[in-house]
């Protein structure tokens, strides 16, 4: 497959990708081994770094860290005085993850994120309909992932309109005004998946909106929608009725900030940017699962240089649908859901007050 010149950072076929990523990730492993004592202790204890990497022959061989380790421990490969920013995740339970970036890493993650999003949105800032409330952004004291997500995406839009009012109710006049002003040329719609469904899907149906010029970018997971028995197919089918077909879900995590996997619009699934890849692991053998076989998702990326997050085992289940057979080259995969937390069934686990 010849790379589409418009595909930005989605150009590498799987074999080429691995040829580029494997030496880079092996070098990163060596780098973090040298600069992060905790990481080195893990590799030494688990024997995951035999002979300083000479024993590793391909991408699937490289050691990985469980992503939750960043909740319980500080793991960074830069001295304290070079920490430029600490990114925290929005853990639903317990402590958030903390990821340390120096100035260079912060810039690199922004550039990488931009290159992925530009692939979906195009090179220019578009008028932006935000499926959220202005209050989410205004509340300066809160450091929610939602706020960070909306603020981050606003960098790719202009002429912002919030679809929800301060009480979280649909602001119909504002939405109508936005579409009247910008609906006949490309515009951007962004929101968290659940809000997009609960607010925009119904509204579109009620008013029979013309969304054919829209590009919808959404993220945040399918858990709440799964409770409503709405999956990605149903989601896409619904919006297609109103002409909205350029829909890009994306998948990423704070522990690998800047790396996002982007949904294509023709062949279903998430695609990997050139600097990243996924490995689906069989949770019994921990070996790479075959195409079509579900397993735990390992995400690898050449971005994390200031902390050892270049190879992470997530707690998400996923499946690779195909390789080099979709909108963009490389693996095409889906998220199937999140693992529940393991429950200690012990005496310490009492009923409580």
């Amino acid at each position: 497959m010849t790379p589409d010149p418009r595909s930005g950072c989605f150009t590498l076929a799987q074999a080429d990708r691995e040829a580029v990523l494997f030496p880079a990730l092996r070098e990163l492993t060596a780098h973090h081994y040298r600069h992060c004592a905790g990481y080195a202790r893990i590799l030494d204890a688990t024997g995951g770094w035999s002979d300083s990497g000479r024993g590793h022959r391909n991408l699937g061989d490289l050691p990985w860290l469980p992503v939750r380790l960043f909740k319980n421990h500080v793991l960074k490969s830069i001295p304290d005085e070079e920490v430029f920013t600490v990114v925290t995740s929005s853990g639903t339970t317990g402590q958030p993850s903390r990821v340390h970036l120096d100035r260079q890493a912060a810039a690199a993650q922004q550039a990488a994120l931009a290159s992925v999003l530009r692939t979906a949105i195009g090179p220019r800032r578009l008028p932006m309909l935000i499926v959220d409330s202005g209050a989410t952004v205004a509340r300066a004291a809160t450091v929610s992932a939602r706020r960070a997500g909306v603020l981050g995406m606003m960098a790719y839009g202009r002429d912002y309109t919030f679809l929800l009012d301060a009480d979280g109710e649909l602001d119909r006049p504002a939405a109508r005004a936005f579409l009247a002003a910008h609906g006949r040329a490309p515009f951007l719609v962004f929101g968290f998946t659940f809000l997009v469904w609960s607010a925009l899907a119904a509204f579109a149906a009620e008013e029979d909106l013309d969304l054919s010029q829209g590009v919808l970018v959404h993220t945040g997971g399918w858990k709440k929608l799964a409770d409503l028995a709405v999956d990605n197919d149903e989601f896409r089918r619904h919006f297609a009725r109103f002409g909205l077909r350029r829909i890009h879900n994306f998948y990423g995590m704070a522990e690998q900030i800047g790396t996002v996997f982007l949904e294509g619009t023709r062949m279903p699934g998430l695609y990997c940017p050139d600097f990243a890849d996924v490995v689906i692991r069989d949770p019994d053998t921990w070996r790479e699962a075959a195409v079509g076989t579900p397993g735990l998702i390992q995400v690898v990326s050449t971005l994390p240089r200031s902390y050892p997050g270049h190879s992470l085992l997530t707690e998400d289940l996923g499946v690779v649908h195909g390789v080099d057979d979709g909108d963009w080259p490389g693996k095409r995969f889906s998220i199937l859901g999140r693992l529940p937390r393991a429950e200690a069934r012990g005496c310490s686990d009492a009923v409580g007050g």
Partner: protein, 425 residues
């Protein structure tokens, strides 16, 4: 509204629970210490729990069945205590058992019932299959029991309702509570009556000690038996029971201890492969998170995964595994002798499973610890066997009171004065 699970299933208001408990405590035919009516009920229960069909389904209920056999219970209550002339019930006992160790609900309750108390047990709203089964058997058995038993024993559940916890706490004479430190702290905020007391069973952790020399001198069959016992101690409740071993301490010279430890782990791996304990994906991930964390903090020198059901952590010198790291995660440590282990023992440690030690050696070790931890030293394989003495408390005595009954002292016989007679020089 509370949900009652025993003696029968129904909803009932708090006032009725309290009234029932008080009435049972004051009833003229109330239960006494070592009451025959309780022995009858527990014995019947024991028979039901040991039915083969049930044992096959829930093997963890079988030890409870054995525990409740009449002969031993009767022997306990007949035995007299040197200091007391009579033992009597404490009154009303409020139990807050652990959420998911199904049988731990029953042991302290049975002992408290045997002491003659009216009992109210707060059941977790997240039950397990074994708990449901146990309650079903209890309900069935109690139909034949004496009305005084039926009227004085209650199992209830309710959500996070402080009003109920406060009322039951205020009404009871003894509160038996299990749980993590936070849970115990939270429960302690609910005041007891002035004369009542708490019996807390906080979170504990356990280990086992094996003499490397004895191990090397033990034949195949002996080693197999120890490993099987260890397997049951560890895997029965997903290694999360307080008494389940987390660290295996090999006692002996370095080389010998390491060799013995390696042999033990190989045998355990083979047994695990045979028994196939249920380890789901989230547990496998949990173990990775926990053991990698031990490496980060330098508590672990090496971590070896033998499939998802067994992870072996070589601990750095001076470390024991102190908290659950996912089912089937064991710390390995070597010590030249038990004395070298002693400084690492804290009040958190509950049970030591042992193999290859003389009684005198264990007694000397316990004496040296002097209560700074470890309440039980039991053979490997018996760590989970509930005993009348638990966490250092004799529960039968804690659930009862001592009564002194003394008659007037008889004046010493005096010789009649006349016999002595006035004598004079």
């Amino acid at each position: 509204m509370l949900l009652q699970h025993f003696p029968e299933e129904r909803e009932l208001p708090l006032e009725q629970v309290l009234a029932g408990l008080r009435a049972a405590d004051r009833a003229p035919d109330r239960l006494g210490y070592g009451d025959e009516r309780v022995l009858d009920f527990l014995d019947a229960l024991s028979h039901e729990l040991l039915r083969p069909r049930l044992v096959r389904r829930h093997p963890e209920l079988a030890p409870l069945g054995f525990f409740l056999r009449r002969s031993r219970l009767a022997q306990w209550t007949r035995a007299t205590d040197g200091a007391a002339d009579l033992r009597v019930p404490r009154g009303i006992v409020f139990h807050i058992p652990p959420a998911n160790v199904s049988t731990l609900l029953a042991y302290p309750w049975a002992l408290s019932m045997l002491a003659g108390n009216a009992n109210v047990i707060r059941l977790s709203t997240r039950g397990s299959a074994a708990t449901d089964e146990l309650l079903g058997v209890l309900r069935e058995t109690v139909r034949q029991a004496d009305p005084a038993v039926r009227a004085s024993q209650l199992v209830v559940s309710y959500g996070h309702d402080d009003e109920v916890t406060a009322a039951l706490s205020a009404a009871c004479h003894l509160r038996l509570m299990w749980g993590g430190d936070q849970t115990i702290d939270r429960l302690r905020r609910f005041a007891l009556a002035p004369g009542a007391r708490d019996l807390p069973m906080p979170e504990r952790s356990s280990l086992c000690v094996v003499s490397a020399a004895t191990w090397q001198g033990t034949d195949e069959a002996g080693r197999t038996a120890v490993v099987e016992g260890f397997y049951n101690d560890a895997y029965w409740y997903g290694q999360a029971a307080c008494a389940s071993p987390l660290t295996i301490c090999w006692i002996g010279p370095d080389g010998q201890a390491a060799r013995a430890g390696a042999d033990f782990v190989d045998r355990l791996e083979a047994l695990v492969a045979q028994r196939r304990p249920q380890i789901d994906v989230e547990m496998a991930v949990e173990k990775r998170v926990a053991t990698y964390g031990l490496a980060v903090t330098a508590s672990a020198r090496s971590v070896g995964f033998r499939g998802n059901a067994l992870a072996v952590v070589s601990l750095s010198p001076g470390r024991l595994l102190e908290s659950w790291c996912g089912t089937g995660t064991f710390g390995l440590a070597c010590f030249p002798d038990l004395d070298a282990l002693a400084p690492l023992i804290t009040r958190r440690h509950q049970t030591i499973g042992h193999f290859g030690f003389e009684r005198d050696t264990l007694l000397a070790f316990a004496r040296r610890l002097a209560g700074r931890g470890v309440d039980r030293l039991v053979p490997v394989g018996e760590a989970l066997a509930f005993e009348r003495v638990w966490d250092g408390y004799d529960l039968l005595y804690e659930c009862s009171k001592a009564v002194t009954v003394r008659l007037p002292t008889t004046p010493p016989l005096r010789r009649p004065a006349a016999v002595a007679g006035p004598t004079g020089p």
